[in-house]
Amino acid sequence: MTKRHAQVSQAPTNPRAAGGPPRFDVADLYRGPLGDVDPRPADAVPVDEKLRQAYFWIVNHAIISPFYDLEFVDAPPATFNLGEHQTRVVLPTAQSYSSYVLLPLLNLAVRRRCLLIGGPGRGKTVIATLLGLLAGYTPREMKQGIQHGQPQMTIADLLGNPLPSSLVSATTMDDVKIAWRKWLGMRVKIIDEYNRIPTRTQSALLTVMADEYAELYDQIYECPPAAWYLTANDDAGGGTYQVIEALRDRIDVVVKALHFNTRFFGELLERVESGQRPEELVPPEIVFTGPELDRMEREIRAIHLPAPLLRRMEFFAAQFEFFEPAGRTIEYQTKDTVKVAAVPFETFAARGSAEDLGAQTRNGLSVRALTTCLVFAKALAWFRGGREVGFDDVRQILPFVLHDKLVQQKDAAFFDAAENAPYRADLVGWIRVLFDRACAEYDRLGRDQADPVGEALATFDRGLEGLDEATVDERLAGLERRLREIEQGGKLYGHLFDDVLALKYLHQRYTNYRAWLRARGAAP
């Protein structure tokens, strides 16, 4: 490893068309062989640019990850159909990224929970440690901060211990002083091999992860907002202990460590010979301060998500929860009803058609999952230098966010086709196909041009104030007309199920309002 490992990619890392002839850049005076310096005050340096520099430093110098599975194109790309299965290989025309590096980095920016999965020795812990270093911690602090899951791990190992002296002298629980573990206060938290932690300790971990506090002897330790990294060797979350479902559900994004490309063996040799580790060589230019991390999170939240794209995401998300055989009451015709009732899914002989996207999953999407989709789509758009989320941002990010959220119905009719069988294992590819098909259906239905239920909701959102009874009657008739159309359409699909419930909701709100109008009119 040579001094080139200290190099940080020069800005702009994602160049866009310039807005006129260049002028003297004050940074020019401070560029040079000692390493470039950005003379602006810390709060004026674009943090998205800095995060891109961090990304390129990691992929160029720290983690050998020569993959571009987050593909972006801005012109017709060259494509090739390879192998017996005619696998389509696309050469992206726009800046594309390795999910294994980018998603953990975005997780640092949005301070969520990222699971890194893959076999031993794939660099999962290394990348998590690097992100801690980018957050300003020293290698020593990171070594102290990593929690290594193991079958004997106790709650005290995880959270801390009561001080023996206070334990002896305490007359009430409040008197007990707790020596909290330092990692609880860190902005980057790493749990290595989380599926080797005993179930009881997992519950304590869940409280820290979900509610950002730890509790021991009635004492509370409030943890700062943090980016979490959990590692596991087993995709299914197996390991020594079964991971409790609530803990799995708290994971926002799942990243798979890809295999080692043997064409890069030479780089490995170079590292072996230099005897140095990337963790020791993080350039200071790409280390983030606390305020910079806060700023990133704020900037990402402020990224705009256009209404038509949101509507498309709604349509996609609507496909999965509906499960007609689950009940006779429309509100309970959901996969959640089956799950809560602890009835085996297989009890229902409902394989669905290959076209029914909802038939391919055993569950729907929770509010948490949908929130995470929005957050990471914004983060990806921000990272790419955009001001609003684009279709490709959503398409590329969904598989990683929904990887652990959508449970596949592996015997669904869709997977019977030979060309679809690989999707039983390739969850990223499968979720992307789900989204593409949902979008194709959305376009076929012309929802961008006509969305009666969406329009009815928008009309209602404008308020009821001043509406007379005749208008209310007219709107109620419109809602019933729309329901009649759905009735005549025959089979119900997920998106129609949500439409029906929305129409019922609107009908009830208008009915209540009409009752109020009548009551007011009848009053003396």
Binding site: P21, F24, V26, G35, A44
Partner: protein, 295 residues
Amino acid sequence: MSGGAATLLATWRDALNARFAQHGGELAPEAMLAFMRRTVVPILDGWDGEPPVAALMALFDLGALGLRVGLCGEAEASRFERVLVARAPGLRPLIAKAPGLVLRGLGNGYLNVARARGPEAAAAWFEALAAAAPRCPEPSALLDLGIVLGWRAGLAEARDAALDRVGRFEPALIAALFGAPVIDADPARRFCRPGATGPLGPLAQVATVGGFVGFGGPFRRPPRAAVVADRLVCTDGDATFELHADVFGARLVPAAWAHAGAQAAPAAGPCAGVVAEPVADSHHVRVLGRREAGA
């Protein structure tokens, strides 16, 4: 070695050795040790309290990279080092806040000014900057000051950026730097001394730029002047340069962005108070402007 440096060096010995292996390459260990002794140790020993590790590492990197490019001396202290050590009391608070940023900024700035205006100008730039460091509350303010002093040292292309920063300085600091509490940003008065308020004199030659490539100049053929995008450029048909000129100096800066436009543009007239007048059968360009009357 007695103060904070000794403890710090002993504690971080292994890390420094690894860093030397990373940056050192062909560098002689003796040269690095000499740099540590004469520059790093005095700066850290004078620290008020325990010096931060980051400052040690940044100073170490400064030496390891600076020795390679001549910023630091192999056998004895360079001018840069001498000023750094002598002015350490004023620089320490800023180094403490952002060690890498401040030291890399100072080093790169010194090298860039030296390349553009020569070693004397670079030494004067650094001396003035380090002397004014106690007036800078933050590292970014120090770097802003460096831009202004770079402009004063003759980096005419930094004029707009420097004027922008001067506007944020206290009048006392501006007066200390320029001998007048206010700088007139009017392009027409760009060749007047700071603080001069009298009427402008006649158009006169204020500088000469250019030269033949064989003698270290930028042009292969006698150049012509043109205005592209409201900016004054000189081109010999092969390469194009933007002309920056004011009271502190005149410079030609590569302007590939203007090359195509310059070939098609007619001969230039005055542009923002500057006239570029090619000299017949010469690779030089006369720079004309109006100083204050009587100057």
